[in-house]
Symmetry: C2
Subunit: 136 residues, 2 copies
DNA sequence: CTTGAACCTATAGCTACTAGAGGGATTATA
DNA sequence: TATAATCCCTCTAGTAGCTATAGGTTCAAG
């Protein structure tokens, strides 16, 4: 049996966040001690690890509820879980592309030895006026 | 002069979001028509495009305020901006690293063609039981 | 048995929006 | 010029996913 603090340490999920997850129904309310403190089992630990990992990957709480429900019926086809992942992958790839472009421009700027920001590559890029016009 | 609706269409920023940006001081309150409706200039359009682009890239509103302030003083020596740029660069690079890791995992997940969830890579991966055990 | 850390609930605040109510302004057409 | 459709206004409240605070209780070590 784990206290909420131990659970927090082992999963890396903060204590108020654990209570929040319980509140919104992402995890079940655990048993309590005589003095009304939460006591978690190994199962609770696994479930929270799953949630932590999913959140890190950017899945919404609703998505995770879906995934958790799915995982409770292992005979069910995984098509649904697959769909959630594919949808998210597309989103992530777009973000990577944009960030790489910005990275290039920021590198330019941080090497900048010009006198002014007048032709600043970052500002240009963010304003979406096309690629950097001046070579720093 | 653009109405808020036209501005919204041209930038892809929703109308309530534009008003929200005004409220939190990210954009200046524009002139109004006789009938008290917002009227934007080309400058307003540029500024909002800049903001849109920056938000897409994951910068917080506070970050963007910084960038905008920077861009308003084009005579400011580059040296002053150097540190800020480097800071943003680091931030961006961290985000790229995280997203690449996420991309790899999601690609893995989305290749799952198992018949049932029992062997589904999504569930395995999210449960953090190590890398995918079966090659799809 | 005491003391200090860890726990409890409840409420409020945070970021970045988004939706709705109830009303006024603008514009295209009859 | 009238009127209907569409746009816009403010204000309030709701959303996700936490995080912080206040004021009190329980647990475990010495």
């Amino acid at each position: 049996m784990l206290s909420i603090g131990e659970l927090s340490k082992r999963t890396g999920v903060k204590i108020p966040t654990i209570r929040y997850y319980e509140q919104v129904g992402l995890i079940d309310a655990p048993e309590r001690s005589e003095g009304n403190q939460r006591r978690y089992t190994k199962d609770g630990l696994n479930r929270l690890s799953f949630i932590r990992h999913s959140r890190d990957l950017g899945f919404s709480i609703e998505d995770i509820k879906g995934l958790l429900e799915l995982s409770q019926y292992p005979e069910k086809p995984c098509q649904d879980a697959h769909g959630i992942a594919v949808q998210y992958l597309r989103n992530v790839q777009q973000r990577i592309t944009k960030l790489r472009r910005l990275e290039r421009e920021l590198k330019h700027l941080s090497n900048c030895d010009a006198d002014s920001l007048a032709d600043c590559a970052v500002i240009e890029t963010l304003a979406d006026h096309g690629p950097c016009k001046t070579e720093h």
